[in-house]
Symmetry: C2
Subunit: 112 residues, 2 copies
């Protein structure tokens, strides 16, 4: 990892933008829905229990952060992740959390 590049202010801002974009329960859920590929706004709306307008707002946040792209197909608009590496990012978080769960579980066993 090139530290010089990471000190680039614009990149730091993008790092923050992505973190802020995913720091919301509904948007995390929406991102998970995209692991299987493109999905239309109406399918997202029925999956996440939010008003359509609110889903659209969340999608805009994710798109503005550079995480999603969209294309129209007839009446529908399909969204997908711009770069699959966003899932590596999410998976790295899950790996951390799962390790912590295992550590806690082992501690509990030790107490038995």
């Amino acid at each position: 990892m090139d530290k010089k590049v990471l000190e680039n202010l614009e990149l730091l801002q993008k790092r923050l933008n992505v973190c802020k974009a995913v720091a919301n329960a509904k948007r995390l859920q929406i991102l998970d829905l995209m692991r299987d590929g493109e999905i239309c706004v109406c399918d997202i709306t029925s999956a996440v229990d939010l008003e359509q307008s609110n889903v659209s707002q969340h999608l805009t946040v994710l798109k503005n952060a550079g995480i999603l792209t969209s294309r129209r197909n007839g009446q529908h608009v399909l969204y997908k992740v711009r770069n699959e590496k966003i899932f590596d990012f999410m998976d790295a978080l899950d790996a951390l959390l799962l390790e912590e769960l295992e550590t806690a579980s082992k501690l509990l066993k030790g107490l038995q």
Copy 2:
């Protein structure tokens, strides 16, 4: 990755907690300061250009999210990450952003 586990509500909440905890410019900066290991509150304060009380608040957020631990050493309190995998998480984000930068750079070259 075990999807069943990830559907665990508590884990989803922890995922959100971590995302929210890192979704702040100063806290991202504080986390970076910990890549070299333990660091005391006073050194963090002088590094990040914030009031001491505010630094303490940010550290509390990171600690409550399970990201940091602390120990007292005399007058000083030293903080460090609980699990180094938090850096894998951050590095995965940087990898995504750097790839996007490269893609953009190649596109620009193509236009020349």
